[in-house]
Each structure stands twice: as structure tokens, then as C-alpha cells.
Symmetry: C2
């Protein structure tokens, strides 16, 4: 039987997080998290719930009634979308061009779906013609795809075109905006998205733990018409909405502090204005991208489908990517991401999200990365990189 | 399309939470939550994960390898237990003597189980003879029961006796200790429990969002031998353990700040010593119980199965329970709980958990409740209540 473990004060290193997430939490969000709790049906908490939903609708660009944070991390929101919209025996189309398309397939299978794929190489977006072909071949009931692929740094450039294909086939489109919500243009209503989900720890600069989802009225009707309950009680969106909606009936205790955090993170979005925020991400990450390119490092994604919140770049020839990551962590307390799946060992993933999308972080990341690559013997021109960054920031 | 909502600074009322939960967060836990994030595979975070697991094993009184926090609130931990241990077509025995036994049935059905019940009135524990009869009648594969019923304030007094019945029938016992872990004696290993789950926002005095579970080696083998995947990818404990165990392979991003909070809450448990903590809850809640009784208000649970962390008392005749709750919230910023289910309108639920289990809170609650009942025209002797409380605290 264990005796009391000797565990000291929480004193972790003070990292700068510029990988794929979690990212740095905004100081105002950290401060909000020191607020004492309220009961889950306290009138003051109910008011906060309403505020969070209004702020989420603003961030998603939607009027959807079913817009709320799920009490878990981004994957919980993802499974809320797939677990509720996919019914046993339905065919679900998912992409093969990134790690999170693969996860969609796993969740769709748990929900009883038959999974088919539309293919594109890792590092490229889906082609609308391929999606149309996949629809003709498989007649899927649900089509999931990724607006902002965290594993590749690829932005699916024309979301409405893909959604339209789904609707022409009477199917439902679920869109992953985990790495775009609050940082990269996303318009749930204008793009006719049926369901979208995100997380709190990327462009919203909150800790993980309360994750946004939105369901259109059409998607809601599908969920409410289910003959068989979804696989998870905890993630049953109709039952959760009995608490988040007007009924206010207890489902599970909301993660109070994560809701406080999300409220503050979303309040920062509203204060800045969502379009200005998208623009800031483009400018800051654009300076980062210009800087790495001028330094002599190649971005993976073409500019036409580049994802500002996550710039993926090739590991220069002869460079040990793990050694670069370790050096940045040890020498600079700086975290960047390595490659996943088909891109393992081949890329670095450079996040520029929310609070991190600012000149101080971009300049720091660029100079530290230049140093690390130089130490690894790569031919990099750090001076040219910094100059290109500076010029872009000055535009 | 929504314009930016006008949402001001987060300034909720400063409540004292003495209901069924969430309860007050310990100031050291609030402080720990201001700590900046780490990446989910940062060596410093991996060390924190190990510490949290060691601390959880201490609190659960277990050496179970599969001991970890689930990334959600208590109901997520509950569904992790039922969703993974119950396989389609299995028979699941659950109790009918409280709200959370009912929830067990709902989750077991989602997992594909056939649900049968063992009955006892709300406000009383299960009788071992009834459990044995139910086993003989239904031969269940899994038996779920509640150590500490949050809806009734009843403690199941002899957990090992019920677990033994399950084991004699080659079944698995899942025990709900949501309202007991860290406050009321619970011994996972000594009592041979197969799986137990809890939450962070009751006797551990953390915010909700990272919820303890433990699976015995025997339970783990059942999970690993499943032919069909469980219904939820997010709550698949075998996959989650690939991240929390030695493999350290990415499953989902851990809720960093909630893990920090849990670490600090559990560190407070280890510093105090778990037996001392159980004793403190008995003493403080004992003073509360003595006080309300001396005041003229009847506890629901007999002393032999009273749950110190949650004392349920009868609403005195002629008193409007909702008016009492509203008055306490308005006049004192004090939250207590009302009745649920079969006890709706008939009881108050008085929490005394973790950081709240101290003289200041007990005295405040007793005096404010006395005032509220007096205003409602009940015959209460507040002076006698305070004297009885004081005498018990002095013992």
C-alpha cells in the first residue's frame, strides 16, 4: 500500500509554446482561472453560460442554437460531432491526408459507421473533384473533413465547395476547425457547415478542457431523430443541451474553471474583433513564414493552402529533428512540434496562435530556430531571415 | 450573424459552496492553476503525470497500475468505468436507491448491457442479502454500486461484503466514490474493488475537469480482452493508458491546468495524511450533524450509514425548501443543495468536503441555516445547535 508520496511545489519550467498546441495561455485567462467556483445552477453561473454561448456563436460566425463547450479536450468535441451525427450502418467519408482525418475514421467506426476515404498526400489539401468522385462511388451519409490539419499545417482552402458536394448528395458535413477557430477565417453559417468543433488551447489561448462545438438546425434534427442512442452518455449532445439550453436540467457538473477560461479567451476575441484577429494571425505568421523562407528553410504548404496558425517547414538535409527540438527546449525553454505520421522526422511544426501570434514570439522563435539549425550544421542565413521577418512586420 | 457580444469582466458573487458539489477550491489549488502550460509530452509534464498517478494511488489506497485522471468531469470517469468494463450483451446489476445508481443503468445500457436492479429505498443503503438474491436471480457480469450517494447522503457501510458477493459469482464490482474519495474511508485494494471512479470537485477541493479512476489488474485484463471496441474513443481507457503509461504515445491533449489542480489537491491529501483527512471529515461533519439535530432538524441517514461528506436533513414541516435555498444565496452568498428524485422537496443536502470541512464553514452554515429556517417559521433552537456543534468540535 502506498505511503504518502513526497511531491513538492509545482514549479515547472517556464516554456514558450510555439508548437501545434497547447499554446501559451493569455495572462488574462490565467487570472480569470483564479476565480472561486459557482454552483452549476447558480443564477450567476447560468448567466456565464449564456455569455459563453453568445461569444462562441460570434467566434464560429453562426446563429446555431446548439453552440456550446463540451466538457473535455478537443477530441471530446470531435467525438461529440461524430458520435451524435453518425448512426449505426451509415457510410462516413473521411480524408487520408493527415492524422486527424484518421482519427475521424476511428470515431466514426466506434459510432457504428462504415468508413470510406478520399485521398490526398499528407501536406496537401483535398481536391474537390476527388471528393465529388468519392461521393459518387460511396454515397456517404456523413462527410468529415479538416479545415486546419494540425499534423500538416494545411488549410483546406475552399470549405463551402466541399460542403456543397455533401449537400448535393443529401449528406452532412462535419468540419474540424481545432487549429483555426479564433485564428483563421471560418464561417459556419455562410459556409453551410452542419457541425464544427474546436478546442480551447490553440487560437483561443486557453488551457485545454472545454471545447467548442456547433450543430446547425439541420444537424440537430438528425440527432434528435436518432432511433438508437449514441455510444456515449457523457457526450450525448441532446442531453447536454438540456443543461446548456433553456431547460437547465442537470446533466453533469460543468468544468467551472475551464468555462471561466473560455469566457475570458472568447472575450479577448470579441474585443479584438474576429476579422482583425484573423488578419493578425496572417500578418504574424506571414512574417514567420517569410523569415524561415529567407533563412533557407522550405515551408511544406503552398501559400494558397498555407495555415497561418501552424506553419510546417521541411527539416533541412542532414539535420536531426529531435536534436533541434531538444536543444530548443533545453537552451531556450522553447517548444516547437515535430512531424507526425507520414511526415515524421521530415518537418517542424511552428505554431503561431492566439496570444503567441505577436512580434515578440515570432522574433524569438525565428532567432532560436536559426541558432539550433546552425548548430546542427544546416546552411541557414539567420540575418536574412530576421530582415525578411522585420520587413513583413513593418508592412 | 452575431456582432461582438458585450461581455464584461468576470466578477461572479463570492459564494461559499456547502452543497453536494462543486465545493470550494482550496486557495493553493487556485494558485497552482495560474501556472503557465507545458506541452503534453514535455519531460516536465510527464514527471507531473507520474506524480499525479502516485498521489492518486495513495488517495485510492491502491497499487493499481491503471490509476489516472480522466479528462472530463466525474461522469466522464463513471462512463470510463462502465463503458470499458461492460461488454455488449452482458448483464449489469445497479442499485435503485439513489440518483447515481440510475445513471449507472443509463451508461450500462449505452455500453450494450442488459440492466437489472437491486432495490432499496432512497435514503437507505443496499442490504447485502438483497444483493446476494439479485445475483442468484440475474447472474450479472458486472455489479455497480455507490459508496457515497450524492443524492441521499447515504454511505454504503460494508463495501467489501458487496464486492465479495460479486466475486463469488465471478462478476466485476464497480464502485462510485465520487463523494468519498479523499474525505471518507475508501480502500480500493483492501476491499478488492475492480474499478472505482471519483471526481475532483468534492473532497479533493479542486475544480471539476480531471476525474480519478482506478482499474484492478483483473479489470484491466477484462478490458484488454474485449472483442468489440468500447463505444467511446475519448473514454477508451486502454488507449488513454498508452499516454499515461510507459508508452507515452499521444492520445488526446491532457487538460493541463486541471492536472495541475489535481496535483495540488492531492498533494494536500498526502501532506495531511489520508487517515487524518477521513478523521477530519468525520469530526467536522459530526459537529455539523450534532448541530442540526440539536437545533431540531432530522438527519435522513442513520448514523451507521451516514456519509460525513454530505449530510442530508429533512426539510422541517411547513418550510418551503426553495425559499430557504434562495434566501441563503441572497443573504449569505451560501449554497446548499436541495433534494433530487424521490427526495425532491423533502431534504436539504449539506456538503462538508475537503477545504470546506473546517470550523469556520460549519459554524457559518449552521448559523445561516438556523436563520433561514427561523424566518420560514420553523421551530428551531439555533442556540442549542451552536452549543452542540461547539461541544463536538471541542472533543
Amino acid at each position: 500500500m502506498p505511503s504518502p508520496p513526497q511531491v513538492g511545489e509545482l514549479t515547472p519550467p517556464n516554456r514558450t509554446l510555439m508548437g501545434p498546441g497547447p499554446t501559451e495561455v493569455h495572462p488574462r485567462v490565467l487570472r480569470a482561472m483564479g476565480t472561486p467556483l459557482l454552483g452549476y445552477l447558480d443564477p450567476a453561473f447560468v448567466e456565464i453560460m449564456d455569455e459563453v454561448q453568445a461569444l462562441l456563436r460570434y467566434a464560429f460566425r453562426t446563429d446555431n442554437d446548439w453552440t456550446l463547450p463540451i466538457s473535455g479536450t478537443g477530441s471530446a468535441a470531435m467525438e461529440t460531432a461524430f458520435g451524435n451525427l453518425v448512426e449505426p450502418g451509415e457510410t462516413v467519408l473521411v480524408p487520408s491526408n493527415g492524422y486527424f482525418g484518421g482519427r475521424m475514421g476511428k470515431m466514426a467506426r466506434r459510432a457504428g459507421g462504415e468508413v470510406v476515404t478520399v485521398d490526398a498526400p499528407w501536406g496537401e489539401p483535398l481536391d474537390a473533384a476527388d471528393v465529388a468522385d468519392a461521393f459518387d462511388a460511396h454515397q456517404p451519409d456523413v462527410f468529415g473533413f479538416v479545415h486546419a490539419e494540425t499534423s500538416t499545417g494545411v488549410r483546406q482552402p475552399d470549405v463551402p465547395a466541399l460542403v456543397d458536394i455533401a449537400h448535393e448528395h443529401d449528406a452532412y458535413a462535419i468540419v474540424d476547425c481545432v487549429t483555426s477557430l479564433g485564428g483563421v477565417e471560418f464561417r459556419a453559417d455562410e459556409w453551410n457547415v452542419d457541425a464544427a468543433y474546436s478546442c480551447s488551447q490553440k487560437c483561443l489561448s486557453c488551457p485545454p478542457g472545454a471545447s467548442p462545438v456547433t450543430f446547425s438546425d439541420r444537424a440537430r434534427e438528425k440527432v434528435l431523430a436518432r432511433e438508437e442512442s449514441s455510444g456515449s452518455w457523457y457526450l450525448d449532445v441532446a442531453e447536454i443541451m438540456a443543461y446548456w439550453g433553456e431547460e437547465r436540467s442537470y446533466h453533469h457538473t460543468a468544468p467551472t474553471t475551464n468555462v471561466y477560461a473560455l469566457r475570458e479567451g472568447l472575450r479577448l476575441v470579441a474585443e479584438e474583433g474576429i476579422e482583425h484577429r484573423w488578419d493578425r494571425h496572417r500578418r504574424m505568421a506571414g512574417a514567420l513564414r517569410a523569415g524561415v523562407e529567407a533563412m533557407g528553410v522550405d515551408p511544406v504548404a503552398d501559400e494558397s493552402y498555407w495555415l497561418p496558425s501552424l506553419t510546417t517547414v521541411r527539416v533541412p538535409g542532414g539535420v536531426d529533428d529531435a536534436a533541434v527540438g531538444d536543444y530548443l527546449l533545453d537552451a531556450y525553454d522553447l517548444e516547437i512540434g515535430g512531424g507526425l505520421g507520414d511526415l515524421a522526422g521530415e518537418v517542424f511544426r511552428l505554431g503561431c496562435m492566439g496570444y503567441s501570434a505577436r512580434p515578440a514570439n515570432v522574433a524569438f522563435l525565428l532567432s532560436a530556430l536559426g541558432d539550433a539549425l546552425d548548430r546542427q550544421g544546416a546552411t541557414v542565413d539567420v540575418g536574412a531571415g530576421m530582415a525578411a521577418m522585420r520587413d513583413r512586420l513593418a508592412e
